[in-house]
């Protein structure tokens, strides 16, 4: 009998996992490392995937979350990386917009970033996020609404806010 392959649609899964990781820890080499590690573990433990417990993306995001925690353990500091916005004027619009989004996300605490990453990075529904975090779908929707409000304020405040730095709680607060 043929087994279901959770990594069959690999390209789409990689894009979703990468977007999630990049929203959590920032776009770039670190996100690539964590994404690679996630899929390496997924291939290694592919036989342990249980289809009845959820979709492949939820399983992969569970692995990705552990990979992010492991990568944090290896980092000396847990400060959120704020992109160099001084050079943003010389970059293309798309890149500039991504930097602005990253800068606004850097002002959020880890719980808010996790929610944003799961919803808009990995493209999960509120129900799927609830299953992953052990919350009710309704609670997830309310939390997301509040988080979007804070993010909107961060966008309106500008790339680095009035003080020029992300709020202190954004640097070290973990879920």
């Amino acid at each position: 009998m043929l087994r279901f392959d959770p990594l069959a649609d690999s390209e789409r899964l990689i894009k979703r996992v990468y977007a999630y990781v990049a929203y959590r820890i920032g776009d770039g080499a670190d996100a690539e490392d964590v994404t690679s590690e996630t899929f390496e573990r997924a291939v290694r433990y592919k036989s342990s995937y249980d289809r009845s417990k959820g979709e492949p993306i939820s399983w992969l995001l569970g692995i990705a979350r552990r990979c992010i925690e492991d990568s944090w353990k290896h980092r000396l500091a847990t400060t959120s990386e704020v992109p160099d916005v001084a050079a943003a004027g010389a970059l293309e619009d798309e890149t500039e917009n991504r930097l602005l989004v990253a800068a606004a996300l850097a002002r959020l605490n880890e719980r808010d970033r996790e929610l944003i990453a799961l919803r808009y990075g990995a493209d999960l529904t509120a129900r799927q996020i609830g299953n992953l975090l052990g919350l009710r779908a309704n609670a997830v929707e309310v939390a997301l609404h509040r988080t979007l409000g804070r993010l909107r304020e961060a966008f309106e405040a500008g790339p680095l806010g009035e003080a020029g730095l992300p709020p202190p709680e954004a640097r070290s607060v973990r879920i």
């Binding site: 390209e11 990689i14 990049a22 690539e32 994404t35 899929f39 917009n97 991504r98 979007l148 966008f155």
Partner: protein, 145 residues
């Protein structure tokens, strides 16, 4: 007409979706290649090809020394001997029909009538036998009286 006001977070949501981080194409391609089942399948194919090549080489060596013919004749002989044993005959030529068409009853009949004892002992067969019956006058050399 009253218009529904747009959610204040809609613009933020759109912004997050439109400017979602995307992996570099080279990174994406490399990772897809790495986890693709085809790359694992190639290794399996190589193993199968190696096993087939080794099997063919071994068969070639055996055939070169006449091992195949020897083995085939041995198998054939073993098969025939097994049938003889099953049927219970000692001489295959005489009981060819019995060997190939034996049903349970005919096989029992054959074994009761035809056995090795009948082939070996035939009273009155030789000229030296006291029970020998002379079919012709000059058949046996008569001792001088």
């Amino acid at each position: 007409m009253k218009r529904f006001s747009r959610s204040p977070n809609k613009e933020t949501e759109t912004r997050l979706r439109e400017h979602r981080p995307v992996p570099r194409p080279s990174f994406l391609a490399a990772l897809v290649e790495e986890i693709s089942p085809r790359s694992h399948g190639r290794a399996g194919l190589r193993r199968t090809a190696l096993a087939a090549a080794l099997s063919a080489a071994i068969l070639g060596v055996i055939a070169a020394f006449g091992g195949v013919g020897y083995a085939a004749s041995a198998v054939k002989g073993a098969d025939v001997t097994a049938v003889w044993r099953l049927v219970g005959v000692s001489h295959p030529a005489k009981h060819h029909v019995a060997k190939h068409h034996a049903t349970a009853s005919s096989r029992a009949l054959a074994t009761s009538k035809d056995n090795g004892k009948d082939d070996q002992y035939k009273p009155g067969k030789g000229c030296g036998d006291k029970n020998h019956i002379h079919a012709r006058e000059d058949e046996c050399k008569k001792p001088p009286k």
